[in-house]
Amino acid sequence: MIPDDTYGVLLVSFSRHSHQHSFVPLYLAHPRIRIVAVAEEPDADPALRTLNARWAKRLGVPYLENVDQALERRDVHIVSLAHEIERRAGLAVRAAQAGKHLWIDKFMGRDLAECDVVIAAVDQAGVQAIIPSYDYGDLLERGARAAADPRLGQLLGLHADIFFGKGWPRPPAVTGAVADAGEWKYPDLKRELLTVGSYAVALIQRCLGPIRLVLGCGGAHFFPAHAARSVEDFATLTLVDDAGRIATLGAGRVGVAAHPAGGPSRAWLVGTRSTAVTDARRPAVDHFLRDELAGADFHPSPDDPMQWASGPPAQATPLGRDGPGLTRALEDLVAAIDGVRPPAFGPRHARAHLEILLAGYRALATGLPVPVPLEEAGP
């Protein structure tokens, strides 16, 4: 590819379980990216199809209810894949086989077998693929920098807490165990170790060596929907890498008005010479404006009770310009397509990342440490 080429992006789905709406401004702002169409599978539910059509109209691009047909378009170079987890692997394989580069929202597939299929397809097709959400954000960038800083000494461990201050908790009277992974899609909830914990896992994955053991705790619930299904809205993991370094994380959806910037995003890196603390919500400008505070309505919209696509009022604005790192991620994909370097977080990284999370889920369900790779753990 000639570096000055522009790349056409096909947006596959605006599913509620995805972040396609967050990617659109990135694509619009990038001088070498242009959105060329929106596509969806023909069996998507009517509400989703309506939403897709609305976005297509808003963007002034065609809407195609046939992904394969969309993949035949010569003006499509990149597929921005943001469907439900259960559909992603199949769509990624089809896109790769059509010779399209991939921007995959969060998880490549619902299990390791699906990840392996995507990896094989991407390798065979020789396309570039990036899973942009985890490796480019402020917390990870700062954490990685601190881990490499000689003032830290040798890294002994890393401890991270990332909470989404969203939703309005109504804690159930009874707490209980957390079921293993397997079901990701629910209409009214997300599995929050996967949704929120994944950021901390990526930081741990970057700074430590390969993880070899995972321990998990969960079951103290914020939301009745999660408790009713024995799935987690909050969990904590303890991990050990192949060099004996120790990591811990706490992650979940903890309710609005619990933090001025929408939830802490903080990590401690323990070294032989010092302990570094990094906070992705700082530096920030704190704002306490009486009329705003006194009149603020923290209640989530009835249309988005868990605030998947919205957030509460904040009293601190972090100064970083690209907190989630999506702009950096897009630059990374463009550079990869240009042939400059492979993406920092591609399919193999994503597979390893999911494996850690799956081990975490198994640990939550069993109450026992789970070895990684998972094949070592047995069925």
């Binding site: 401890h159 165990a177 705790c217 619990a258 032989t272 302990t275 440490p369």
Partner: protein, 303 residues
């Protein structure tokens, strides 16, 4: 006027203190309220700038004048012998952790009047304020405790710090841990230890001891269903320069309330169960270091 010759502050007492060099700020805080007869720096030497009466050993320190209390903020090789010496001459003794790693010695010491150990973190303002706020109805039910402290220099000191952290589970979560996993690693004398604890209603704690000293009480966070409580190691005074340093106002050091409690209270003999739990925790730390794997402790193992 030498520090030891200063008049006794109102309400203060004559102390002999054993402390590590990185606890100099806490020792200075004690000196604002008490008369320090002597400070024994457990690592030897003398911290820079510490205008305190230094003595190489507790036995010699007892000759400096009347002493009300011997307090050990950090463990050291001679500690058990010094504790016995002080008890023998009728002094009260308070240690930030168990003064011995021997079960037999521990049982003997635990039975002696005038000795108490532990409770340093609990006496501090962070712990007390967290415990108060945790009771507010708006806090809801506790879900998660995170606490990161320094002090991981040597196994014994790491043990004391981890023990102290675990003591926060009962007042801040729904009760003492029902499940406890201990992990540890070391490089030279620097120890990194983690306790992952689960309370009766599935609330969890991730408690971390880092080798490097963290100012003041470290970083603490308590998450409940109704919101979040946080306290970080940023303290009252920050010296921003080529080598930034932070210091807390003396009154904020946990050591002050801890010593005050030791002086005011009637120390009750240490419970055998407490000693038992302390030693099992030490055993778990040793095993975790050896195996580089999490070590599970049954509930009886938690102090």
């Amino acid at each position: 006027m030498s520090p030891a010759a200063k008049p006794l502050p109102a309400g203060g007492a004559d102390l002999v203190v054993a402390a590590a060099g990185d606890q100099a700020e806490a020792v200075r805080a004690l000196a604002t309220r008490h008369r320090l007869r002597a400070v024994v720096w457990t690592g030897g030497g003398r911290p820079r700038g510490a205008d305190l009466p230094v003595c190489p050993a507790v036995a010699a320190a007892l000759a400096h004048g009347p002493v009300s209390l011997f307090c050990a903020l950090a463990p050291y090789g001679q500690l058990e012998a010094d504790v016995r010496l002080c008890l023998d001459v009728g002094l009260r003794v308070v240690c930030a952790g168990p003064p011995t790693t021997s079960r037999r010695s521990g049982e003997q010491l635990a039975a002696r009047a005038g000795l108490a150990w532990g409770g340093l973190l609990a006496a501090g303002p962070v712990s007390r304020r967290l415990a108060e706020l945790r009771q507010r109805p708006a806090f809801g039910r506790p879900v998660y405790l995170r606490w990161v402290v320094g002090g991981g220099q040597g196994l014994a000191r790491t043990w004391w710090a981890l023990r102290d952290l675990l003591g926060q589970c009962a007042p801040l979560l729904s009760g003492p841990p029902l499940e406890l996993w201990v992990l540890a690693s070391r490089r030279g004398r620097g120890f990194h230890a983690v306790a992952t604890a689960v309370a009766p209603d599935r609330a969890a704690a991730q408690l971390v001891v880092a080798p490097a000293h963290l100012p003041w009480g470290g970083d603490a966070m308590l998450l409940g269903t109704g919101g979040l409580l946080t306290a970080d190691a940023e303290a009252a005074i920050t010296f921003a320069g080529a080598r930034p340093q932070v210091a807390a106002a003396p009154a904020l050091y946990a050591e002050l309330e801890w010593v005050a409690g030791a002086l005011a209270g009637t120390p009750t003999p240490v419970a055998v169960e407490t000693l038992e739990g302390d030693l099992r925790l030490l055993g778990a730390l040793r095993q975790a270091l050896r195996l580089a794997l999490p070590v599970h402790l049954a509930p009886a193992g938690v102090a």
